[in-house]
């Protein structure tokens, strides 16, 4: 039974596709006369289960081909699952598909989801009608979205003349038209320049602040880290880890490394650092000038240890010239779980 504030509930969702024959097997005549029945299946998504609460941004993070887009397509009813169930705002994705579509807005990957020979405004008017939004309400809503997404000044130009960032904003406006509680974003920043991508992420956080729930897929680790309240790491069609970004990073036994350059450093402090409970290893190096030393501390909790270290340095009248803290990233999490890199 879905709890009151669960917007998305997925239970053991699967999708399999028949395996395509290789070039050698599929000759001229076998392509003309298709053979009976596929012999092999490819599991694109295998037993995915998750719950997404209202108002959270949930990310599916994984490399290309992991099954993220396939999962999103099943949830928005574009693709029929091979097994398992899912509910969007209480509605079953198979039996109540039309109601599901009323309760979500989706932006699929690439610039190809809107009409290039229509203007931005005409695109929104068109889809507003398809979403059964009453005309008077639609007119107001469209103008509101155009203003909000900074499209008003060019709303009456053909979409084919827009930049990639603008096209993406039109697609998002289309997804927000019916004011749905859930937004599905499939690789929203792919193909955008860094500034546009940054602006889009800001927009996504703004949308979250309105109380909307967002499910997004990405293969950019920084994006998942910045935006998501919780992340499901996907590889080979399965969720291999699911938690907040912080907990995921903590879960691997990778240590933070704190590097300091300290002037007027008292070498006796090295032993004191070693005795700190959270510090696992200390490496030190005399720089030979102004009693300056380079110290590297390995600790599982750099945030906790740092204030203590600084205080100890201050009591000995030392001066921190340079400080760098390297923490494990989600990429490190992915590598430790799969042995592969996130970017293929």
């Amino acid at each position: 039974m879905m709890s009151d504030n669960t917007i998305v509930e997925v239970r053991e969702l699967c999708k399999r596709f028949p395996k395509k024959k290789t070039k050698k097997e599929a000759g001229f005549w076998s392509k003309l006369l298709p053979l009976a029945g596929p012999t092999d299946w490819f599991m694109a998504v295998e037993n995915i289960s998750l719950d997404i609460k209202q108002g959270e941004i949930f990310g599916l993070l994984g490399p290309n081909g992991a099954g993220k887009t396939t999962t999103i397509k099943m949830l928005c009813t574009l693709l029929e699952p091979s097994g398992g169930t899912a509910r969007i705002n209480g509605y079953d994705i198979i039996k109540e598909a039309s109601l599901v579509r009323q309760n979500l807005g989706a932006v699929m990957t690439g610039e190809r989801s809107i009409y290039w020979k229509l203007t931005g405004r005409e695109n929104l008017e068109y889809f507003a009608a398809l979403y059964h939004i009453p005309r008077a309400v639609a007119k107001k809503r469209i103008q509101e979205l155009l203003d909000r997404l900074e499209l008003s000044s060019r709303a009456d130009e053909y979409v084919e003349r827009y930049s990639s960032g603008m096209k993406q904003r039109v697609a998002i406006a289309k997804a927000l038209l019916a004011n749905p509680p859930l937004l599905l974003l499939d690789e929203p920043t792919v193909g955008l320049d860094p500034q546009s991508a940054r602006n889009l992420r800001e927009l996504i956080l703004e949308i979250k602040r309105e109380g909307r729930t967002i499910l997004l897929t990405t293969h950019y680790m920084e994006e998942a880290d910045q935006l998501c309240d919780r992340i499901g790491i996907v590889d080979l069609g399965k969720i291999i880890a699911l938690d907040t970004p912080a907990n995921l990073k903590k879960s691997i036994k990778q240590l933070d490394v704190m590097r300091l350059e300290i002037e007027k450093f008292d070498p006796c402090l090295i032993e004191t650092f070693q005795r700190l409970p959270a510090v696992q290893h200390v490496a030190s190096h005399d720089l030979g000038v102004d009693s300056a030393w380079s110290i590297a501390l390995q600790t599982p909790d750099s945030e906790g240890v740092l204030p203590e270290v600084i205080e100890l340095i201050n009591t000995q009248a030392g001066r921190v010239k340079h400080l760098q803290v390297t923490q494990p990233t989600l990429e490190d999490v992915f590598i430790s779980l799969t042995g592969k890199q996130l970017r293929d």
Partner: protein
């Protein structure tokens, strides 16, 4: 349940969605100017080959015309060819236009956007075709006027109401076929070959440029199950030989039957291919 969702479904809103799809189709149509060539130039060019062939076959002194007359019921071979040619052109344009409508959306990426919307699936199929039907009727009118101007063929002087009735009855058949076709096209990538085959069948069997009487019996039987055969025969009879409602009533009844069957066939093909497309993920492929 989120109470501020703006969707308000009703029959009226479904009709509005349908009209929005028709309107979108019209806007895009206007913005690609190449239709002007198709509409104004091809009606004149397309029958030319057959008309001159027929002229050659009838001989410099028209000595072979009586042979044609005996079979076709008229010696006006220009009018005869022109009628067959224009209706075949209509079918051909519909197969390409309607047949590739879904495929073009699939390749553009907008098929998924439409599919995501809470509208009836049949609206996605039918909506854009409302515009196509209107533009085709305009095309037929232009063609008829050009035939008058360039070939001296008067198609619009007969019983126009009866002509419109024939067209009205054949529209569901042609568009039903187009829709069936359009559904299959999103499944099979080699759509061009399919168009060639279907329009080829009509070209061979429907008596486009020759009287059906010249066909061997087995080919005539096949011709009798194609709706275009009756449409061509009846338009010729009404426009060129002043046939009345009573004269063509048996054919009209058959056309009415086709008008029921073909759209149903189109819808069923669409329904099953759409299900398969959702299972295979074909909606987003290009």
């Amino acid at each position: 349940m989120h109470s501020s969702i703006l969707v308000q479904r009703s029959v009226g809103s479904e009709l509005r969605a349908l009209l929005a799809m028709a309107r979108k189709e019209w806007i895009i149509f206007r913005r690609y100017p190449s239709w002007v060539i198709a509409f104004f130039i091809w009606p004149v060019l397309s029958p030319m080959g057959y008309i001159f062939s027929a002229r050659a076959l009838s001989g410099p002194d028209g000595s072979a015309l009586p042979a044609f007359s005996r079979l076709a019921g008229t010696s006006d071979y220009v009018g005869f060819v022109v009628v067959g040619s224009i209706l075949w052109m209509w079918l051909n344009m519909t197969l390409w236009d309607v047949g590739f409508q879904l495929r073009n959306e699939q390749m553009r990426g907008t098929l998924e956007s439409n599919w995501l919307c809470p509208v009836w699936r049949i609206s996605i199929l039918v909506g854009p075709n409302l515009t196509k039907i209107m533009t085709m009727l305009f095309f037929l009118t232009v063609a008829a006027l050009e035939f008058r101007l360039f070939f001296g063929v008067q198609l619009l002087q007969g019983n126009i109401a009866l002509l419109l009735l024939i067209l009205f009855l054949v529209i569901p058949s042609i568009y039903g076929l187009g829709m069936a076709f359009g559904s299959l096209v999103i499944r099979f990538k080699e759509a061009n070959a399919m168009v060639f085959l279907v329009r080829g069948i009509f070209m061979v069997f429907c008596g486009i440029t020759y009287p059906l009487e010249v066909l061997p019996p087995w080919m005539r039987s096949i011709a009798m199950v194609l709706p275009l055969t009756y449409a061509i025969r009846d338009v010729r009879a009404v426009a060129l030989a002043n046939a009345t409602y009573v004269d063509i009533l048996p054919d009209l009844q058959k056309l009415a039957l086709f008008a029921l069957i073909m759209p149903l066939l189109g819808w069923l093909t669409f329904y099953f291919t759409e299900r398969r497309a959702r299972q295979s993920g074909a909606l987003g492929q290009h």
